[in-house]
Amino acid sequence: MKKRVLAVLMAAAMVVGLTACGASGAASTDSASSGSSGGLIKVGIINNDPNESGYRTANDKDLKATFTEANGYEASFAYSLKNDEQIAAAQKFIQDGVDYLLLSAADTSGWDSVLKDAQDAGIKVILFDRTIDASEDLYVASIVSDMAQEGQTAVDWLASQNLPEYNIIHIQGVMGSAAQQGRTGALDAKVAAESNWNIVTQQTAEWNAETAQQIVQSQIDAGADFNVIYAENDDMAKGAVAALDAANISHGVDGDVIIMGFDCNKWALQELLDKNWNYDGQCNPFQSSYIDEIIKKLEAGQTISDKVIIMTEKGFDATTITEDDVNNYGI
């Protein structure tokens, strides 16, 4: 009996809590409109942890450099690799009455209700880097990398090398991540289509250089015959190269093994320049200029023509890369 009373009380308390939230949500709409009249545009930026990777560090730096007071913004940042924490941060930003919510979601699902709240509060949502599973009405724009295109660019480059036979060690990222799926998809399709393309092994190193080193080491120990290493990021390519170096297998331009990486870290592009690697695919972390442009347009009362903007991304070849490329595109 006592328990039941307690349960009822708890439920009542929760309902009160919910209505309280609703009320504060409504209140924040007012502060939002008054906030924007103050001159600075208030943006709440929800990103993944900048420690996650070199890509994220560059991405965060880029955003911080653009959304400054000098450029007319008042920016607050929230970082988390967990979806629930990101959603909590979004709710806080809504209550703070930001004008724009910029979001790189940790997970693709679970965003509908909070984005609905944002919309009700008159906050415009812009997705960057990662897309989500939600109705397109809930955000004004989405600026993303096309990972499948990145994979395709890389595979096309590899095909253009016209090797008589392709024996590929394929080192994958964390399984299920958008980058892994896109970069794996293109290669898998090509291998299935061509008779002279073979996968020697396809294993995940979870973006980890050392695991990649072990995977390649085990292929060398087994005496496997391979001439391409297709690593889904730079770190893993580096690990693979360490294993090749230890076994005295030549790699890079004019070497026995073609080395391919992704992300265009500065040190990786330097490896290309030194002709130790052959190819590096870009994953563009610099979305802030696109976002800035969209916000300026919206503030000027213009409409956005394309909701989904796919950034242009390059692939670098060791035989054509220049010092300037390293400095301009290295992250």
Binding site: T57, W207, A209, A247, N248, I249
Partner: protein, 361 residues
């Protein structure tokens, strides 16, 4: 008489803690022998710098198993004294590695020359890692927090601290001497991590033999109150085991960062704590604390690496790899559980008795 002796040997073998890891290693080797004997092939080759090195799966196991063996030493002591495990070793390795790179590279993450001798960087990393170990130890020993919960703090925060030490940059060391610790010393074809592990094992062997550390640790683990009544200070001993684990972590940090001359805070030594705990469990040590067998833990570490290498060798689908490992681990751990071993002994006894009775009849 002969028969009695034989029986004695048999039950003794089963009761011996070394039985499980040795048996597991033999099973893995036997499997490889049947499936593909090239597993045991070792060839002498040269790396791209022209230095001789041995190649082969066994060498790979010795190489990568060594860092795990070093961690297993510390983890065994912590387990014995506190009856729990430290799950922050992976994050702590990130911190130790970050400290080493920070000191070697100074403020410039792309410096061409070392800013400090490697030994200095290593010693500072030892101090830092020992301090973090002491932090864990104090939480466990003084504040009586469950070890797994106490170390959860560093597990969560450690990688961010590691990134913060280097201002979120990824330094790269360009000095070839730094690569020796995770690679090769010119002229010696055996991977250096193996020698480092051997030194650590030798040190802990001497410590256990000539000091009372082993006895005191086990006494605290078996019965803290009784140990206290006998004049031991459980708090100091528990903290000491965590500090020793911290030193093991610093050594691992050196090897790990040396392998690639750089660091990636989010993935370096990822999930290594699980393998280290497994090594202790595989060694037949009670995870609830008390008696331990250091040799069994160290061998357990190499068994786990043998398993990992075997799975890589057979190109197990990447998505299925953890599942395979889990199955093998479940079998090994269940087999090493005291209850199963007692049953096995009983069965063997029965068979023996049956034989004897038959002979008598």
């Amino acid at each position: 008489m002969e028969r009695v002796k034989q029986k004695f040997v048999m039950t003794n073998l089963l009761r011996n803690q070394m039985f499980i890891p040795i048996a597991a290693l033999l099973i893995i080797f036997l499997f490889n022998l049947i499936a593909d004997p090239t597993f045991f092939k070792i060839t002498l080759g040269y790396n791209n710098a022209g230095n001789p090195l041995l190649n082969g799966y066994l060498i790979t196991i010795l190489d990568y198993g060594s860092e795990l063996a070093i961690l297993a030493i510390g983890m065994t002591l912590v387990t014995s004294a506190s009856g729990g495990q430290d799950i922050s070793v992976g994050a702590a390795i990130a911190i130790a590695g970050s400290v080493i790179l920070r000191i070697l590279c100074g403020s410039n993450s792309r410096s061409e020359e070392l800013q400090a001798p490697i030994i200095v960087a290593f010693l500072v990393a030892c101090v830092v890692a020992a301090l973090f170990g002491a932090f864990n130890g104090v939480l466990v020993a003084v504040f009586k927090i469950q070890p797994m919960v106490a170390t959860l703090i560093l597990y969560t925060a450690g990688r961010s601290i590691a990134a913060w030490i280097n201002n979120n940059e990824l330094p790269i060391v360009n000095d070839v001497r730094f690569t020796y610790f995770g690679g090769l010393i010119p002229g010696i074809p055996i991977p250096v991590p193996f020698f480092i592990a051997a030194i650590c094992v030798l040190i802990i062997f001497l410590v256990l033999k000539f000091t009372t550390l082993g006895l005191y640790t086990q006494a605290v683990g078996i019965n803290e109150r009784a140990a206290k009544l006998n004049g031991l200070n459980p708090v100091v001993i528990k903290i000491l085991t965590f500090v020793i684990l911290g030193l093991c972590v610093a050594v691992c940090g050196l090897i790990k960062t040396s392998r690639l001359s750089t660091i990636n805070y989010s993935v370096i030594a990822k999930d290594i704590e699980m393998d280290a705990i497994l090594a202790v469990a595989l060694g037949g040590n009670a995870l609830g604390g008390g008696k331990f067998n250091m040799w069994a833990s160290i061998l357990g570490a190499y068994v786990i690496q043998a398993l990992t290498t075997t799975l890589y060798k057979f190109n197990v689908k990447s998505t299925a790899l953890p599942a395979y490992k889990a199955v093998v681990v479940i079998i090994l751990v269940v087999a090493s559980a005291p209850i199963v071993r007692e049953k096995a002994q009983e069965i063997i006894k029965k068979i023996k008795h049956g034989n004897v009775e038959k002979e008598v009849a």
